[in-house]
Symmetry: C2
Subunit: 149 residues, 2 copies
């Protein structure tokens, strides 16, 4: 086992914070080179905001911190395969690289469903790396849903 | 010619406000029955927020106003075919009906590209009505881009 890269470790910590708050445990981190620009936990229930996925909150916080709507020099680390909403936002933000943990056959839109980045109408395709920390990310999700059944 | 429904008229007014602010002219309105819950204009540049499409801002404002993340009793009116990000948000918010104006072959994700609501993994499909006010919505967009060429 290689140690997990620091940004994914931070994203997993954010996912754990989400679970503690009663939210589906997903976390995301925006990096600019070696620098953390934003960390966010999934929070739609807490914020009463159906768009408040971890990726969306991290992208919005990063854009605000940098004072611009394009993050072409930034990478996104997220514990779960992004959905269509988040994949769309990643393209709009011009994120350079996406690193994600667990696959999401039910709601993912990168390797499942609409496979957004592979669509001819997708105007910006980040580099995508998957499976980083997927064991831990998937376990967090399974524990969360098992406890609620 | 039938007169335009009031919510689309309000969405077109918001699109015009967007253009005045130097933003791509798209406007959106969330209705709950006959009541306006939120009106928003496209504002990614102004807000330094790549997710700040009119639909996203209207959905977020409506959810905040109603104090809940699900808008199953609400309809969305928008001047342009929603993109993948916005279509995803519409599903997450459980919006009942979507009325849109102009088609968007380049970035739309309802009748173009990923056709998100037709995907087997789409967990909520609103009723969709298109072409309402498309002439005016399309003219606003063409004028905006022609002036910038």
């Amino acid at each position: 086992m290689f140690p997990l890269p620091e940004p994914m470790r931070a994203a997993l910590d954010a996912a754990r914070d989400a679970a503690k708050a009663g939210e589906v445990p997903v976390g995301a981190v925006v990096m600019r080179g070696e620098t953390v620009v934003a960390i966010a936990a999934n929070a739609p229930r807490t914020l009463h905001d159906p768009t408040a996925h971890a990726e969306m909150l991290a992208i919005r916080a990063a854009a605000e911190a940098l004072g611009r709507e394009r993050l072409q020099d930034c990478d996104l680390w997220v514990t779960l395969e992004p959905c269509a909403m988040c994949a769309g936002a990643i393209s709009h933000a011009r994120i350079a690289r996406v690193y994600y943990g667990a696959s999401d056959p039910k709601g993912g839109a990168v390797e499942h469903g609409p496979r957004f980045f592979a669509q001819p109408t997708c105007h910006h395709r980040p580099e995508v790396y998957s499976g980083i920390g997927e064991g831990e990310a998937g376990a967090l999700l399974r524990e969360f849903f098992a406890a609620r059944r």
